[in-house]
Amino acid sequence: MNWLRALLARLQNLFRKEQLERDLDNELASHLELHVAENLRAGMSPQEARRIALLKLGGLEQTKESVRDVSLIPWLDSLRRDAVFGWRQLAKNKITSIAAVLSLALAIGACTSAFRLIDAILLRPLPIAHPENLYYLGRLVVDSNGSLHDFDGWAYPDFQLMRTAAKDQATLVAVSYDLRADLTYKSDQEIEKAHIVYVSGDMFSSFGIKPALGRLLTPEDDAIPGASPVAVISFDYWTRRFAKDPNVLGKTFQIGNDLFQIVGVSQPSFTGTEPGTMTEIFLPTMMNSDATRKDSTWHRTFAIVKPGAAIEPLRAKLDSVSRAFETERSKSWHNESPQEIARFLDQTLYFGPAPSGASGFQQGNRSALYALAVLVFLVLLIACVNVANLMTAQATARAREMALRVSIGAGRRHLLQLVLVESAILAFLSSALGALFAARSAPFVLGTINPPDNPVRLALPADWRVLLFGIALTVFVTCLFGLLPALRASSVQPASALKGGDNLHVRHRLMHVLIAAQVAFCFLVLFVSGLFVSTLQNLSRQPLGFSADRLLVLDTVTRAPVSSLAWLQLADQLRSVPGVERVSVASRALLDDYSNNNSISINGSGPSETIAYFLHVSPGWLDTMKIPLVDGRDFVAADTDPGAAIVNETFAKTFFKGTNPIGKSFNELYMEGPGANFRIAGVVRDSRYQQIRGATLPVAYLPFYSVTSAGAPTTEERAALLVRTASENPLALASALRKAVPLARAEFRVTNLRSQQELIQAQTVRERFLATLASFFSVVALLLASVGLYGVLHYSVLQRRREIGIRMAIGAQAGNIARVVVVDALSMVLVGAVAGLAAGLLSVRYLESFFYQVKPTDIGILAFPAVAIFAAALLAAVPPLLRAVRVDPMIALRYE
């Protein structure tokens, strides 16, 4: 360890050089004094005594130098000197340095934000004991359209069979999908929302999670359906909702009709297994009302594989267990064709690695985030090319200085170090600034992916992972823009450089190649953003088939089941609220990502190949939604389900092949039990049902008023009230309506209140996110590229003043001069644009899933980046051009 101590001592010495120097001077002075004194005593003359002493020491300066070599690490000292020198150089060219630092900071900051998002959503391992051993169980099945369907939901009885089968090789735990539930702590008037999940009793112990307070769930909590109404809350929720009150244990809250008691708080870091949401309350799976149902897939299954256990045999075992379960279950399906059942049963179970958890948010945004990362990286490259050009230009300006250094004995390595240190200072400053930028922008960007009513919550810590990424990025960037100019500077030929005739053409060529690269990257960014933007435009211009203006959606629930007639009465009562134009009821709002589908049968034929989609609506719903009736009539109060139906044009076309369907009937086939018969009373225009994109679906609207086989009204616990308001801003009526609903009848309450417009926008969140960020980065890329081009042209005009002067002196016109100056650079722009175009067309196939009705080869899509880049290039070329044609030959020629 002594070498380490010595190294530390030397590092320390670096910062107290002066004291060290003084000490050494004193010590050597005292040495000489002692020696001289002794020599004098030996009878020498004073001069002789001093001469001998110095001789014996071997020279004062030599001794000092050899001590210095020990006291400091020589190269570190030179590094320090280079850093000081580099800083002075940067400070001398303030404007260019600031421009370089700002553009790099923007790019580095954007890269770091992108990394933070990607890390938090996709990469960061869950804070559990052995995240590398965690897998989720998924199934692949080919659906009726022949496309592969991937789903990760499981029914609890199936899970129980698999858990038993796997127990020697892996621990299986069930974790339900995150649910944003309504819960109340005190009175019913104070409903709040919380993210809850139902988890297996042994989840916490299998994950190695400790309680922060009280206890966690145990397998005993998870043994008998409905028997253990206990809850564990997350540390984060405890902090926000209860201000870390230790008396939280024993508090109760109500979800639906169940009363839960809080028994513990989990450790701080753990916020569930679904990145994108933070679980606040953990309940035992046995408290889920679907716990014993075989036909409800409501939870994910995670496997914590024991060390050394092989995955494949385990997978095969669970696959056969699950198949056996589904085969058994399918025996009661009478309304499905045998082929359809066989297709459904042919599902393959797989183990998906889940060290960072599993969530729909991950699935939905993975490719978008990677696309964003690539865009951001391109912007970083553009910024680096800019700075590289700047450094090359400066290196040229400093060729004489470098040559002088070489002539007086500086090694090439030292010159390399000199320039690299300068680059490192730039990169470091930019990284620091970029980090500030990233600290702000990552949460902001996350905000743009958020649907407004249910914000994504994500831990975005600035920890060692981000720091490490930042350092790696800084080093990478330094090498990227610093190495080339540094090599160039260090290979300077003193003889020619000092004469002032260094080979300028080589340097120009390098800068031109860099410009071409920059334009190519820029073109690529612009091209891809153009595709994103027109995708968003296409989606926004989709005809909906209904009007979303001034339309409010009140998702309403009841505490106790309420008859379907009572819902219709509620709608009537709400019409009296001032500002309300129309109110209707439907089982759900359109475009609320809801779908209810079944096979149908016409005239007793077998199940249809195409499935039909259904929505229960009240009389007048068509008017409220402004969906025009094509034929027949709207529902009246006497229409019931089963009984009457209104179908859309696609339905009529699909199932009745162009004949008039009015008066005809069809049967809706349920998975189990007999179907229900409907007579078609009307035909309406098509409208969007579940999603804004994709083919138009065949939809049958059924009366909201449904009755049992005995003729009594059925009960409904949930429906959507659709309110068309008089005012332009429908949300102005929000609080009045929220109050009016429970007043109309005590059982009702509004759980979600959104405008229909929000529902539509929620469908294009990803596209909006990509289009917004891509546009932003396009502007940045274009700006950086034009600044780069301007810099190169400006520099080349400066370099060629003399040549321009001579040309003018012998009679060249301004036009000729302009051509000389810009023709090289603009041809580089052209080369770059072509390269960027090729790269763009190649990359499109990886991005296809993001595009909607966009053809990458459309002339408009291709023209946009080309026009933008050439316009920017021309703009950037104007000032240097003016400078070139205003060159006064007399001054230019005298200048050298």
Partner: protein, 114 residues
């Protein structure tokens, strides 16, 4: 330089440590003189080479230094052995003895006529 031997770095450090063990705290000039005297003036020590060696030993923690006053009332920097230095001296001395012993045996062994 003829018949006087130059000192090489490794052995100089050992000599410094040994000198400090024998004489206690001592300034640079004193150490240099002592080494010359002990060697019976067989060594020609360039005094200047002593100071980098002293600094190196100090950085390694084998000796410590302090400003003080010499016998004839002059300010001087005094060096003394640390605990780690004492151990290092023992270790180095042992190694050195071993090396010389091996070499001695090697050189005194009779040549085998071929």
């Amino acid at each position: 330089m003829g018949d006087k031997n130059d000192v090489w770095q490794g052995t100089l450090a050992l000599m410094v440590l040994k000198t400090l063990q024998t004489l206690g705290a001592l300034h640079g000039y004193g150490i240099a003189r002592r080494i010359e005297q002990t060697s019976g003036d067989l060594l020609s020590l360039n005094y200047g080479t002593l100071y980098p060696a002293l600094l190196k030993l100090e950085q390694e923690g084998y000796i410590a230094s302090e400003w003080g006053v010499s016998d004839n009332n002059r300010k001087a920097k005094f060096y003394k052995l640390t605990r780690a230095g004492r151990k290092q001296l023992e270790r180095e001395a042992r190694e050195w003895e071993q090396t010389t012993e091996i070499l001695a045996r090697f050189l005194s062994s009779k040549e085998q006529p071929s």
